[in-house]
């Protein structure tokens, strides 16, 4: 049986749902966008115009749950890397939301550059479990208004995966769509293939932004999937109990679901969660805590309760540098998500609470993901795995090393082969240079970056993307 961890009982899921409905109906949700408020009102919400608050009845939630698609595909730039949701095994989202990079050569923490974005894309592309990439964040540059476009287009150039981004300004949309048409060879294919999706964070507690919300409503006709990503922080922007923070985050997510389904029924939505817990000593937002993953895993179970595809925050750490804390927290915040069946886990690549990109961490996180995914597969009780005949053949004493079944199984998925762990004897380990997990990860990064990109875009497409970026620089000055 596959290993299944359960965070919420059936009864608890119903309680979270009931609490969410109660929050939506009795407290309501504030919309800073007049357009959004009107959509809510036109569809049956009780709206207080002055306060900007919509009280959302349960029927609207039910209606939205009916029209939200239960499955869809996040297209990869390379169709072989398409991500069909829901997934039978957990996939991983490269977390490059942060602003800083740990310089690969010097170890210095500095602002991120476009080159860091591209290097991270190249490294993540070579990881087996990778599914989706988030572009990096850039502070500097002569053309700050076209930074986001540059990062997205370079992500397409350097990664064969689906690109997901927070989306800043409506003016950016035409450039991104033109780029996708250039990559896919036709405008029609853009809607169809869905190479790009966007992240929508509600503003805890219970607020929807104005500008960002309008921008998402503007682009909804393109049918780009939207990752709904509430981030209530239990103890600061969220109530100080896991139960209520989960319920409030769930209510925020349901209110987004209602908004986008009412605006455009059938919009593909990923029901995500990136809750945090408060570091009471500093007020900081924690992503590497057990409470964080209990909440995001619970919200993942709520997504499945509603039959919706999901992305949960996990594989995260609050450590400032690579090392034991990073590994422990990332393992801790990945395992429950994988064992409870999350479609996608967003987190690999980052340290410092999603703030610092570290290239070697991408490789370490792949190992963490591999270990967790292996645990999820559990023990195979298929008849084919019943090796009674071998036991009979070898009999008491003897060994199984020469059996055909051993030869076949030693490279099968039943036996996970770690890429970074050392399993040599002490002496051999010393002879081999006393390697550790991170030094092996660094070697792998060096190797990837030293070899040419495996799946580059054709030169003429790159030419077109360069042209689009040049135009964006000019026009968005």
């Amino acid at each position: 049986m596959r290993v299944q961890c359960q965070i919420l009982s059936e009864d608890e899921k119903h309680r979270v749902h009931a609490e969410s409905l109660k929050i939506l109906e009795q407290v309501g949700v504030k919309f800073l966008s007049q357009r959004a408020l009107k959509i809510m009102q036109d569809n049956g919400a009780k709206v207080d115009q002055d306060a900007g608050i919509a009280k959302i009845p349960a029927e609207m939630v039910e209606q939205a749950l009916k029209t939200a698609p239960k499955s869809f595909v996040l297209g990869g730039r390379d169709p072989a890397r398409d991500v069909a949701l829901p997934r039978p095994t957990t996939g991983y989202v490269l977390d490059l939301g942060g602003v800083f990079t740990r310089d690969f050569k010097t170890g210095e923490r500095r602002y991120a550059t476009l080159q860091d974005n591209n290097d991270a894309m190249r490294v993540f592309d070579e990881m087996e479990l990778s599914s989706v990439v988030w572009p990096h964040s850039m502070v500097e540059g002569d053309t700050p208004n076209s930074n986001a476009i540059r990062l997205i287009l370079h992500s397409f150039m350097n990664s064969s995966l689906h690109v997901q981004d927070e989306f800043g300004e409506p003016e950016e949309v035409p450039y991104i769509y033109e780029a996708m048409a250039a990559i896919l060879g036709s405008e029609d294919a853009v809607k169809e293939r869905k190479l790009y999706s966007v992240t929508y964070c509600t503003l805890a507690p219970l607020v929807h932004e104005g500008g960002m919300c309008n921008a998402y409503l503007d682009m909804i006709e393109f049918e780009a999937p939207i990752l709904i990503y509430p981030m209530p922080c239990t103890g600061s922007t969220g109530p100080c109990s896991l139960f209520s923070n989960i319920s409030m985050g769930n209510a925020e997510a349901l209110s987004s679901l209602v908004l986008f389904q009412m605006a455009h029924p059938g919009t593909p939505l990923i029901f995500g969660d990136a809750s945090g817990s408060t570091d009471f000593a500093s007020g900081g937002f924690l992503e590497g805590s057990p409470e964080m993953v209990l909440m995001t895993a619970a919200r993942g179970e709520m997504a499945r309760f509603y039959g919706l595809p999901n992305t949960q925050q996990g594989c995260q750490t609050d450590a400032k540098e690579p090392g034991p804390q990073a590994v422990m927290e990332k393992l801790l915040t990945t395992m429950p998500l994988v064992l409870s069946g999350a479609d996608l886990v967003q987190g690999p690549g980052c340290l410092e609470t999603s703030g610092l990109l570290c290239l070697e961490q991408i490789v370490v996180d792949e190992e963490i993901g591999g270990l967790c995914n292996r645990m999820r597969e559990g023990i195979d009780f298929d008849d084919a795995r019943n090796l009674f005949d071998d036991i009979a053949e070898v009999g008491p004493s003897g060994h199984f090393l020469m059996q055909d079944s051993t030869l076949e199984a030693c490279r099968s998925d039943e036996f996970y082969t770690p890429k970074l762990f050392d399993r040599h004897t002490f002496e051999r380990w010393v002879d081999l240079g006393r390697s550790d997990t991170y030094s092996k990860a660094r070697e792998r990064v060096e190797e990837i970056l030293a070899t040419p990109q495996k799946n580059p875009l054709p030169d003429d497409v790159i030419g077109k993307l360069d042209e689009i970026m040049r135009r964006a620089d000019e026009e968005l000055k």
Binding site: V99, F100, S137, M138, V139, P144, N147, A148, G168, L203, E209, G211, C233, G235, S236, T237, T278, F280, A281, S282, G283, F285, G355
Partner: protein
Amino acid sequence: MSIEDIFQSILQLKRGEIADLVQAEIDAKTDVGAILEQGLINAMGEVGNQFSEGRLFVPEMLRAAETMKIGLEVLRPLLVEADIKPRGTVIVGTVKGDLHDIGKNLVGMMLEGAGFTVVDLGVDVDPKAFLDAAGENRAQLVAMSALLTTTMPVMADCVGRFKEANLGARLIVGGAPVNQDFAIKISADGYSSDAPGAVELAKNLVPA
């Protein structure tokens, strides 16, 4: 009854007791300046120290600040009479385009605890609003917060406008993506990576 009791009531988060304790000291004709300095401000100084050392948690620090404020309200009419001014006025806000406010709130509350009058403009504050508020309130200090790469340039814009307007207020910056180099680059008067640091900075830039 003594000033020490007032000091202790803040450290012990006794919100319900402080008003009576302060009133008792006033009735006993204790010097109001002493009640303010040795009772209220020193207690918040100690709270700040304990918080910086990680011994006090944020909700406790906030309750202490609230307790202090209750005491201050009782004292305020007498402070005005005795012409004792608060430490200085600080405008705080998260810059235009940015809605992150957890860090900004902490900074504001700690500054208040340290005796500053804090005018919190909230989030998504445009440079003109900072400028207007600083003028209206004759602020000595403006503390800006930004959490997004896309909103950091607003800080530079703000610094430029303040220099132009020559209001005399000093500008300090903070927020996760901001660092010392950035602060120097945009000619801000200071940077701090956390809330206790912002209080230190404010104390240095606005001496009592």
